[in-house]
């Protein structure tokens, strides 16, 4: 069977509903919902300070007026001009500050992206903008959104703006977090679009549906919409989904990066037992084999049942600080190496190659002595506090970095060197101390938090701690912690699970059993209790036994039995130092001081609570002035601007080129109508007329001109038939075509164009004549 619509055409008669008032109002409502929903999300993402009421009112007014006015053919042009006029008026009112408002909006967006991905984003130079200016700007944006939506409705592609709105809301949810109101608005719009189809068909159906049927049709959707609005606004049943996002994220991470089964990666609920296998996890090649702690997962926030890495949002609050720190090549994860190199210029460098064969590829396993790493695998703009953040969708399997000699076992020397006035480059060290003091403030601000339940437990175990000093002496604190954990807790690879919801409380008060995860968690919280910033770390140990008799550049296989969890604390001036509290591991790795569970002596570590320098020092940039924010203009934003300008310029050139080409084509075409050869002129002219008739749908194909059914007006038909005969004679016979006959055919062109123009709107005519250059 041939499906060819030139032989037979069939269609369902379109309902007249589309022209009714109800349909118009419905279109206006849906337009408002989608536009305002997207606008809400834009305002949230750009952190703009606007009046929501005014934005809502403006969107409503523009939506409704557009659709009401658009129903009248005479005012159809107003349908498009109104939102453009409103947008223009708003922008004029903002006046010269429009660039400032736009820059602030862009900065807000960049900050949101930076918060999401933890990347230092550049900022445009601008001053603060007022709420009024922001409101005016976003009113203009809402007008544009309304116009785009309305145009899609007019072309019966209502699904497109709804789909784009959903995509925008979902993307914003990922980046910023969802604005429930915008989600509800977009959802309501989608429901109404679904029902618009129903209502449009209802007119075609007629009176055949009873009241009950109509109620049954509308009831479910009314229920859903009301339910969504209510629960979206009220927000009950939150508790049941708490942690769902985290669990989903964890599952996705496990799939992407792999999972080290023996270590919970901060998810303490999964810490049921420790059963490592012999499966190799890392293959390490060192130019100077030494023992190191290889850090992987670092948990900074404890919430009772998990340790979480410092959140991007949290890190981004200190973006300015990190920008300045990174500019001065200061990173929290390589402090030891920086200090070591400053104090000992002749130190050796250890080149380390890691081949990740079984561990999670999400983390870069680096020692405390990390010096530098290949930045091909590392995102340098990332705000990284714990370790270099590696790039790549599936992480990295292989990377190289350099480290200095093991400083963990001799960090006391570093501390001594800091306060030694006889060192060679005192100025450099002082400069380092200046910068470190700011980082130290950040550390004390972010790594001391203990949840109340755990705090109560610790108070019971360690006694109430109050001190006028910043924190308890390091040695005293560490000795106390070791004593408590060693005497009261038992090491077990399959500990019981306590009933308390708080992991630390269950370990310390109920089960008294655990393995490295338990001990590290407890030690971290106890250090924090004593006022010492501390974090929970999971990683691998390269023990002295592993490197004993190992040749330089030979491969060391680190299997799952080397996986371990420990606590690390921040030693003022020096940096992060690991603190081992798990009984079987206490003497495995080398340490600087001789602190054991029974040894309470050691006063060599002094409490350096005031290590800040007040005056700036040579070799380092001046510390940031708190009163003024540094503007992070960088080449990056300039490149983006140039790129956008380049694309815009190319687009303009392309448009101009196409317009000129069209004009030239039309000029040549019209020239072919006025040739000396009357026959050619007649043939070309008539052909052009037929082309116009087909293009503007007066006929379907050339065959229709033979059927004689072209009836536009009586006069036109007569002219057409005359011209047709002349064309036939010119084309198929040897008859001479007179000048008059050729002119008759030319007159047909004018008649055709004038008939076409009568049916086209102003904008369509403008497009036909000046853009597509179809006719003159």
């Amino acid at each position: 069977m041939t499906e060819n619509n030139s032989y037979i055409k069939s269609a369902v008669v379109k309902s007249e509903y589309n022209n009714t008032a109800v349909c118009t109002m419905l279109n206006a409502v849906v337009t408002f919902l989608i536009s305002f929903g997207v606008l809400q999300q834009l305002v949230t993402v750009t952190k703009a300070d606007c009046s929501q009421v005014i934005l809502a009112l403006a969107t409503v007014v523009v939506s409704f007026v557009m659709f009401v006015v658009g129903k009248y053919p005479k005012f159809k042009i107003a349908f498009y001009l109104l939102p453009v006029a409103v947008a223009g008026a708003m922008l004029v009112m903002v006046n010269v500050n429009i660039v400032n408002v736009f820059s602030n909006t862009v900065n807000g967006l960049l900050n949101t992206v930076g918060e999401c991905f933890g990347v230092i984003m550049p900022q445009l130079q601008c001053s603060e903008t007022s709420a009024v200016e922001s409101t005016l700007f976003f009113t203009a944006v809402s007008s544009v959104l309304v116009l785009l939506n309305a145009m899609c409705f007019n072309k019966n592609i209502a699904v497109l703006p709804a789909a784009l709105a959903v995509a925008a809301v979902l993307f914003s949810a990922f980046v910023q977090g969802v604005n429930a109101i915008s989600a509800v608005l977009v959802f309501s719009a989608m429901v109404l679009i679904l029902y618009k189809g129903r209502l449009c068909n209802a007119a075609a159906v007629g009176k055949s549906n009873s009241v009950w049927n109509k109620a049954a049709t509308f009831a479910p959707m009314v229920f859903f919409t009301v339910a969504v609005i209510v629960v979206g606004g009220v927000g009950f049943l939150n508790a049941s989904t708490e942690g769902l996002k985290v669990n989903i994220q964890s599952s996705v991470d496990d799939i992407l990066y792999g999972n080290t089964a023996s270590m919970p990666q901060g998810r303490l609920d999964n810490a049921q037992s420790y059963k490592p296998t012999d499966k190799p996890m890392l293959k390490v090649v060192m130019s100077n084999p030494q023992s190191y702690y290889l850090r992987g997962f670092v948990g900074g926030t404890y919430n009772g049942n998990s340790w979480q890495q410092p959140e991007n949002k949290q890190l981004y609050k200190s973006a300015d600080l990190f920008y300045w720190l990174h500019k001065n090549d200061f990173y929290g994860y390589n402090q030891l190496s920086v200090l070591s190199k400053q104090l000992n210029k002749n130190g050796s460098e250890n080149r380390i190659i890691i081949n990740n064969v079984g561990a999670s590829t999400q983390y870069m396993y680096t020692p405390y002595e990390l010096d530098s790493c290949s930045y091909d695998a590392v995102n340098k703009n990332k705000i990284a506090d714990t370790a270099p953040v590696i790039s790549g969708f599936l992480g990295q399997r292989s990377y190289t970095y350099t480290a200095v000699d093991n400083q963990v076992k001799q960090y006391t020397n570093l501390l001594a060197g800091l306060y030694n006035n006889d060192i060679d480059d005192k100025a450099a060290v002082d400069g380092y101390m200046n910068i470190e003091s700011h980082y130290s403030d950040y550390v004390y601000e972010n790594y001391l938090y203990i949840p109340q339940k755990a705090k109560t437990t610790l108070e019971g175990m360690l006694g109430s701690y109050k001190s006028s000093e910043k924190h308890l002496q390091y040695s005293t604190a560490k000795q106390s912690i070791l004593n408590v954990l060693s005497s009261s807790m038992e090491y077990s690879t399959e500990p019981d699970k306590g009933s308390s919801a708080d992991f630390a409380t269950a370990f310390l008060q109920e089960t008294h059993q655990g393995y490295s995860v338990h001990f590290a968690t407890a030690a971290t919280l106890m250090l924090r209790y004593y006022g010492i910033p501390a974090r929970y770390v999971e990683g691998y140990l390269i023990t002295p036994n592993d490197v004993k008799n190992t040749l330089s550049n030979s491969e060391i296989a680190i299997d799952d039995t080397h996986s371990h969890a420990w606590a690390e604390y921040y030693l003022d001036g020096v940096g992060w130092i690991p603190f081992e509290t798990t009984p079987p591991y206490i003497n495995v790795m080398e340490s600087a001081e001789d602190i054991s569970p029974s040894n309470s002596n050691d006063n060599s570590v002094s409490n350096n609570s005031s290590s800040k320098q007040d005056s700036p020092t040579e070799g380092y940039e001046q510390e940031p002035d708190d009163d003024s924010l540094l503007q992070r203009n960088s080449d990056f934003i300039n490149i983006i601007i140039y790129l956008l300008l380049g694309i815009a310029l190319l687009a303009v050139f392309a448009v101009v080129f196409i317009l000129l080409k069209n004009r030239l084509k039309r000029k040549r075409l019209y020239a072919s109508f006025n040739t000396e050869d009357n026959k050619t002129s007649a043939i070309n002219s008539f052909g052009f007329c037929v082309y116009l008739l087909i293009r503007f749908k007066y006929i379907n194909s050339e065959r229709d001109i033979y059927s004689g059914d072209i009836i536009i007006t009586k006069e036109y038909t007569e002219k057409f038939l005359q011209a047709f005969n002349i064309y036939q004679a010119a084309r198929y016979s040897n008859h001479i075509v007179e000048q008059q006959q050729a002119e008759k055919v030319l007159e047909l062109i004018d008649a055709t164009v004038s008939c076409i123009k009568k049916k086209r709107s102003f904008i369509q005519r403008f497009y036909d004549v000046f853009i597509a250059c179809i006719y003159k």
Binding site: E3, Y7, V12, A163, L194, V205, M221, T241, K245
Partner: protein, 366 residues
């Protein structure tokens, strides 16, 4: 309705993601309920099948290129709520074997009726029939779908062929049986062996027609008028197998009907034969009513491997004039048959017709 299915799925996804990111369990619950409701409706539909009836209301005839309006009436006789119903139908011209799809979406409740106004326009003649290929039932949220097959009660719409002027040079005389004994009571003819009427001589009458006996009796010239013999001597074969070119089969049908009409006007009783259910069907055409009666069945193509020439081979000898309207000329030797075809042929027994020639000449010579 793929768009609506995606639409609803996106709505569910939006709610779910919103619920996860906002940690709002109720939104997730609403999204789940959304899906569960659709599944429940699907299960109910499967257990209690919808009793649907479909009927089409269309005119009996129309002209070529005329827009015909009608409606399909769908009735749900069951207590199952249908929700969204998608009717996938096809409008087919049975002669030219061309079709056009027809898709309509309606919402139906319990024990309700829905009317779908439709229209079609056929450029060629033939019998146009509307068939429902399938009906898809969706739940109210368009997430789940069930397909049912419902026959459509409808008759075909006959798109009347355009009539042309036919010049029957020589054909008419061969259309009469000289030895026949039946004559038309009402129509004058050519056969003077049977007198139809007597009248006075008028200038131009043939001397052969003068009734000398009566003329001598009445002392004026009396002329006899011949009668029209009505023996059925003409066979018209219409080869209505599946056509290669819709325009050509349509043109052949129109010429054939035009010929039949001219023969009727000339009082020539003739037989029209065409294939129906792979068998040749013979119809005696004496007047317009006979022709109108066979048109709906005539203007359909037959999907068969049977060759109509084989079917009528034995019978053609019984007729004085045999005309065959065919798209392709028969390859085997057919004596005594004149072919009217749209294919170019050098066979002297073939009359080749095409639209351009007809339009330029204004009539057809057979």
């Amino acid at each position: 309705m793929p768009k609506m299915w995606i639409f609803s799925l996106v709505a569910v996804l939006l709610l779910t993601v919103t619920g996860i990111y906002a940690e709002n369990g109720a939104l997730i619950a609403v999204a789940l309920f959304y899906v569960v409701f659709a599944v429940i409706q699907l299960i109910v539909c499967r257990l209690l099948p919808a009793k649907l009836e479909a009927k089409a209301v269309l005119p009996d005839t129309c002209n070529k290129s005329e827009t015909v309006e009608g409606k399909i009436i769908l009735t749900n006789n069951s207590k199952v709520y249908c929700g969204c119903v998608k009717i996938i139908a096809r409008c087919t011209n049975l002669l030219t074997n061309t079709s056009s799809p027809l898709v309509a979406t309606i919402f139906m409740g319990i024990k309700s009726k829905a009317e779908v106004p439709i229209k079609f326009n056929s450029r060629l003649c033939g019998a146009v029939k509307i068939n429902i290929e399938k009906i898809q039932l969706y739940d109210i949220l368009c997430l789940t779908r069930k397909t049912v097959y419902v026959p459509l009660e409808s008759s075909a719409v006959t798109v009347l062929p355009q009539l042309y002027d036919i010049s029957l040079a020589g054909l008419l005389t061969n259309s009469y049986d000289i030895n026949g004994s039946q004559y038309d009571e009402n129509m004058q003819g050519y056969d003077i062996s049977e007198i139809y009427n007597l009248r006075e001589y008028e200038k131009g009458d043939s001397p052969r027609n003068i009734h000398w006996k009566l003329s001598s009796k009445y002392n004026s010239l009396i002329v006899k008028e011949g009668s029209m013999p009505t023996e059925n001597c003409t066979l018209i074969i219409f080869n209505n197998t599946v056509p290669e070119n819709p325009d050509k089969i349509s043109l052949l049908a129109e010429v054939m009907v035009s010929l039949s009409q001219v023969l009727i006007e000339n009082g020539v009783v003739h037989t029209v034969v065409y294939l129906e259910n792979s068998q040749p069907v013979f119809n005696c055409i004496e007047n317009d009513l006979d022709l109108s009666a066979i048109l709906p069945k005539l203007l359909r193509c037959e999907k068969t491997e049977e060759d109509i020439f084989n079917c009528v081979d034995d019978i053609t000898d019984e007729y004085k004039s045999v005309l065959c309207f065919t798209e392709k000329v028969c390859t085997t030797e057919q004596v005594g048959i004149k072919f009217i075809t749209t294919d170019s042929s050098e066979n002297e027994n073939c009359v080749v017709i095409n639209k351009d020639t007809i339009d330029s000449l204004g009539c057809i010579e057979i």
